[in-house]
Symmetry: C2
Subunit: 151 residues, 2 copies
DNA sequence: ATGAACTCTATTAGATCAGTAGGATTAGTA
DNA sequence: TACTAATCCTACTGATCTAATAGAGTTCAT
């Protein structure tokens, strides 16, 4: 259950774009604002354009902008654009795996894990992220003290 | 958010051991019962012994057994034994990352994701798994029809 | 003694991850 | 028209991880 650098960088760039909706921001603007490696970020931005999360304009004064309003882009949309499906078991979707004998119920566990992750990442929009006001159900998860403690 | 083969194989082996508590099962018994590669499983079993999830006995008639009762081993215990921490961002624990500017609240999102995953994997025991009776909170997550549908 | 079984070290082929290099193309501006 | 800013595209690299195998050593019951 590792979050990749691609996913993280994508979300940081998108947050920055949501905070500056007036003008396009260039790859370098974004890289500097968030301290990200420019060329690597570039390939991430292209994924986001391909998936219709961003629009781009070439040439002088060009750059990237959100294709929809920040309230209509979920964190799941962004992560799937750069990394593919949110959750998988050995590369296969949870409902696609099955087990013999004693381990049969394991499929249900994987489905539950994916559902839990979806609940967070599909209910939280980029607008929520930049406003720092996460949905009620997400707030509840982080309000417990030991959500912040390493196990 | 990929579940590795190690984690999956570990849980399948542990489930099998919980279903046959009387006698030790050998690496080959387990590999055959679940259709897993024997030598690879071996290194996974050693991780589980090292972390005190299993006990082992060498020699003829030896094999592996659960070190505690199945109701006292959570799925999280097993997964952490073979893969390390359940959730991380670029290899760092969620509470250890921080972001400038517009992306500040991203830390909260990662903490929420980890908390959600923990809630499932720490509340479900190996006994629940083999009985096919997952905790109430986990059942709720998979009862929705579209938890089973690819997005 | 024999053989069944775990323990341990090493190795490997392939994939993925994070990141870089460099040129081609597009577009605004002087 | 030239210049420059910017995206687009292809290719490549080094490091790490993943899944798996090989083979020798050790323990123990019979």
């Amino acid at each position: 259950m590792q979050v990749t650098a691609r996913a993280e960088y994508a979300l940081r760039a998108v947050a920055e774009l949501a905070a500056e909706p007036e003008r396009p921001l260039s790859r370098n603007d974004l890289a500097e604002a968030q301290g990200l490696p420019g060329k690597f970020l570039e390939s991430i931005l292209r994924d986001l354009v391909r998936d219709g999360i961003l629009t781009s304009r070439r040439g002088a004064g060009g750059g990237f902008q959100l294709a929809r309003s920040p309230g209509e882009i979920t964190l799941a949309d962004v992560m799937r654009a750069v990394d593919g499906p949110l959750a998988a078991v050995r590369g296969v979707a949870p409902e696609g795996v099955s087990y013999p004998g004693a381990a049969q119920a394991l499929t249900d566990v994987w489905v539950a894990v994916r559902a839990a992750v979806r609940e967070i990442l599909e209910s939280t929009t980029v607008a929520d992220l930049v406003a720092g006001r996460l949905p009620e159900s997400v707030q509840r998860l982080i309000s417990s003290e030991d959500a912040w403690h390493r196990r």
